[in-house]
């Protein structure tokens, strides 16, 4: 259930002829969240944020306001990269704000960029950071902190990617908390079976938010209504396919973001799919159907060639950020895969084509990141079966929602038939809330949309 003062997704729900003002809608949602966080009666507030909806901005703002109100604040993020990014943002937003970065005792425990902020203090011991208004660390590090006075407030970032047992280990450290996260991304997982606890309200393998809400159903829940990252071409698809009951809008309209190339197409598959993606925001480069190993050499080469051509053709992006076209450089491009060996194969192929500086990673590691153009190796490409791993809704959602301009998917033909042969067969567990949509349905929705932007190519 969504709090009453949340802003609705917009015109789809029908607000008459009133034009949708994304900034105003987002501002109203943020105000309501801050009101509940600072002055609400409940111990917790939950905020659902679709991809690129300004979650980090919200966290920074809430942290600064809580600190300004004189409430000692601890911030829990899930990875060291997230913690460093957050501390950097906090210190940049307010250079006078004293921020503590609690880190592990490993070598190179944090990003050295933090040392450039005079107000940031780093330590592996929480006692060294006593008295600072804000202390930020990973859930794993917080879990080792014992015998301290609890913090008055906490912000738990990426709460949907945090496991329930990780929250159990840290929840004793704070009195109240703001939980922020994206319900559509990858669910936390366990390398061992956890079926024996399925259906229990505190199933340790479930997400922290699931457990929190099962025990505290009265907590206010909010939603950020606007994705500032996704272009107008992507928001409706991602919203429909992955957030069917909590729709959101893009912050920009059609035509506000444009992608163009200085070099004309040479007629090859990679060039044609890039042209399609530049015009429509989506491109599907379809290779002939074939069952392949995970590191399908043809598909991997195709991914690398698309990236190579993207750079060679002098791509330039126009967006609301600047009137002038901004050259599309390697650091604004990402390649997403399902498996690590696939990412390694793509990296090797890119090196072979002389490309460097492009981010190549798995969906898990691309979570929370943003690029202008993404090239995705479809998780089901070339597979003989569709397992729960490959069907997971969050995996596809992460891969399809990292881009500001366009997303090119490379895939072998026949995925639709593969999906039809492998409907979801996960056992239904009593007491477990069914997640919508299921991966099978989301995969079909995305595939149906992509097929309108299909370029068949035989390398």
């Amino acid at each position: 259930m969504i709090g009453t003062d949340c802003v609705d997704g917009g015109s789809r729900a029908g607000h008459g002829a009133e034009p949708f003002d994304p900034s105003a809608a987002a501002a109203r949602a943020t105000e309501a969240i801050l009101r509940d966080t600072l002055h609400g009666a409940h111990r917790g507030v939950v905020v659902d944020s679709p991809p690129g909806a300004g979650k980090s901005t919200l966290v920074v703002r809430a942290a600064r306001e809580l600190a300004a109100a004189g409430r000692p604040l601890m911030v829990v993020a899930q990875t060291n990269a997230q913690v460093d990014d957050l501390v950097d943002r906090l210190a940049t937003a307010d250079p006078d704000l004293p921020v503590g970065r609690l880190h592990s005792s490993d070598p190179h425990p944090y990003d050295p960029v933090l040392d450039e902020h005079p107000s940031v203090r780093t330590s592996a011991k929480v006692a060294d950071l006593a008295g600072l208004g804000i202390v930020v660390s990973t859930a794993a590090k917080w879990a080792h902190i014992k015998n301290v006075e609890p913090w008055r407030h906490a912000i738990v970032d990426e709460a949907y990617q945090m496991r329930s047992d990780a929250l159990l280990a840290v929840a004793g450290l704070f009195e109240r908390a703001l939980f922020v996260g994206d319900p559509g991304q990858l669910d936390p997982f366990s390398v061992v079976g956890a079926d024996q606890w399925a259906g229990l309200s505190y199933d340790p393998s479930a997400s922290a938010v699931t457990t929190l809400l099962a025990h505290n159903p009265q907590l206010p829940q909010h939603r950020l209504p606007v994705s500032w990252r996704l272009p107008a071409s992507a928001a409706p698809l991602v919203s429909d396919a992955f957030y069917p009951y909590t729709p959101f809008r893009s912050g920009t309209g059609h035509g506000e973001r444009r992608l163009s190339f200085g070099v004309a197409s040479d007629g090859s598959g990679p060039d044609r799919v890039l042209d399609e993606a530049a015009v429509s925001g989506w491109g599907l480069l379809e290779l002939p159907a074939r069952r392949t190993p995970r590191t399908d050499p043809e598909a991997v080469t195709a991914v690398a060639q698309v990236v190579r051509r993207l750079l060679d053709r002098g791509g330039a992006a126009v967006s609301e950020r600047s009137e002038e076209p901004v050259p599309l450089t390697a650091d604004r491009i990402a390649v997403g895969t399902a498996h690590r060996d696939q990412a390694a194969a793509v990296r090797a192929a890119l090196t072979g084509l002389g490309v460097s500086g492009v981010t190549v990673d798995t969906a898990n590691r691309l979570q929370g990141r943003e690029f202008d153009v993404t090239v995705v190796l479809h998780p089901l490409s070339g597979r003989p079966d569709a397992t729960a791993f490959h069907l997971e809704t969050g995996r596809l959602c992460v891969l399809a929602s990292r881009h500001r301009h366009a997303c090119v998917v490379v895939c072998r033909a026949g995925v639709a038939e593969l999906l039809d042969e492998h409907p979801s067969t996960e056992p239904v567990q009593l007491g477990v809330t069914v997640k919508f949509p299921d991966g099978w349905e989301a995969n079909h929705a995305v595939l149906a949309h992509l097929s309108e932007h299909r370029v068949a190519w035989r390398p």
Binding site: S164, D165, L167, A169, V191, G193, L200, T211, R340, D341
Partner: protein, 526 residues
Amino acid sequence: MSLITTLARMEAVRDGRARPVATVLHRHLSDRPLAFVPLTTAGEAGAPLGALVGTDRDTPRLLVVPQPRNRDLRFAFLADLAEEMLPYLDSYADDVELEERKETDPETGKKVPVQVELCADAPQLLVPSAAGVAFVRLLGRSMRFRRTADQDPDTPFPAPARVPLLGRWLTHYGERSRVPGSSLLLSLTELLGRHWATGQSNLEDQHLGSLLAWIDPPEGFPGAEAALRAESARDADGQLLCPPAGPATDPAFDNKLLAPAIARYDAARAEVLGGVAGGEARLRLAENELRELIASQLRPTWDALWHGVDRLRGLPRGERVAERWKRDRWSFTGHRDRVRAGEPPQPKRDDAVTAAQKLSARETAQAQLEAQEALDDPLVMAGRRLAGEAFAGEVTEVEMAWSEAKVPRPRPLVTVRTEDRPHLEGEVKLYRVMADGRTQTGEFAGAQAPGALVVRLTGGMGRGKTPEPGSVPEPGDRMCWTLFEHAPRGGPELPDAESTPWTHGGPPDAVALGPDPDPVTEEDYL
């Protein structure tokens, strides 16, 4: 499925027989395991039909429930089972050694070393298949909450004396079997599947008969044909030549043989109750007939189970298996102590803290198991190397270097020539086993040329400015570095159950155990 397993399965198809995927035995196999082959009644939850149980392959004890829907007979079966199993479990309880362990002193709060007992060996339970493990859990759950007349004289249907105790032990064994790498309760299909890859699917490997057919195909038969025969060949009466490993029975057996035999038994029993002359003899006859029938279904599985054990005993033991078995011994000793201390049976459901602790312990066990199996077995390590998680090669160059610190520490750079292609990014941590068994740490320091990887040694060289002799490899040495830790540590300590936080419903007492029963209203007495 890893690439190397896929390859092994394809080779198994080509060769018509299973391919080994391990060169050593990765689980502990007791010298005197207790084998347990149960059968259950179709359509009745937790109604055992019969079982073969024992430590001696030639003289198993046959237990039969002639009418599985008769609960008195079911209890008699469970009492007999307790009589077979508990003395076996007890026989390991008193042979102990003393171990030193740190415990928190309740008065001072300090950690002090105490001497505690550890059973020198632990009893091991073997069942044919994963479904057998699930059945052990089910039996445990159905027995451990029963009350005996001794415990509660007013209980309306008292259980035989030792049945609840057996239930607690089976529950403990069933729960322990969920810990990766544990060996207190093992299924043969899982054990054999860990060590051999067949040319059939994982699901088909759940059939002990067809799995063994791939591993030991009869002379002149390819594995696939032998497996098909084991799965589906029937005799002239339509009965399977190789009955399923249970606990489920074959429907053709149920319909054609079992149901009529039980009907005859019921009729004879009715005659005995009705005082019909000769009823006793007919009842004995009917019961014997049933025993023979059920034995005919059990015996092939029993023999297959021991056949599998023989094959596994032919493998040399993995070096680190004893370390894991010691944890099993701790587990057995711990439960022995809880039983002796008169603690109540395990609760129906874990509370939030217990569930999180178990999950965390199992994840640690999984990581340790994966590392130890690779270190024990070059074939497993080959799979990890193929997956880019390790690399092996020859040292071509060693360059001494020191860290930039007040007290410089040795940080030698070792160049390893390898044909493996590990997934190395940045300064990823590396681990290797040194000649003395300790683990040396290092970090990736770049590639000198394709296939020439440079590792900066960061540990295992002692405390001095110069490395201890033998701790730095020399050109020509062969070495294997892994990207995974060799002894991964467990997660953080969790709060006590009494301090379960508000996010998880608070202390368990506040939530009580399970939902309250519906209130009794007047309608209940209409």
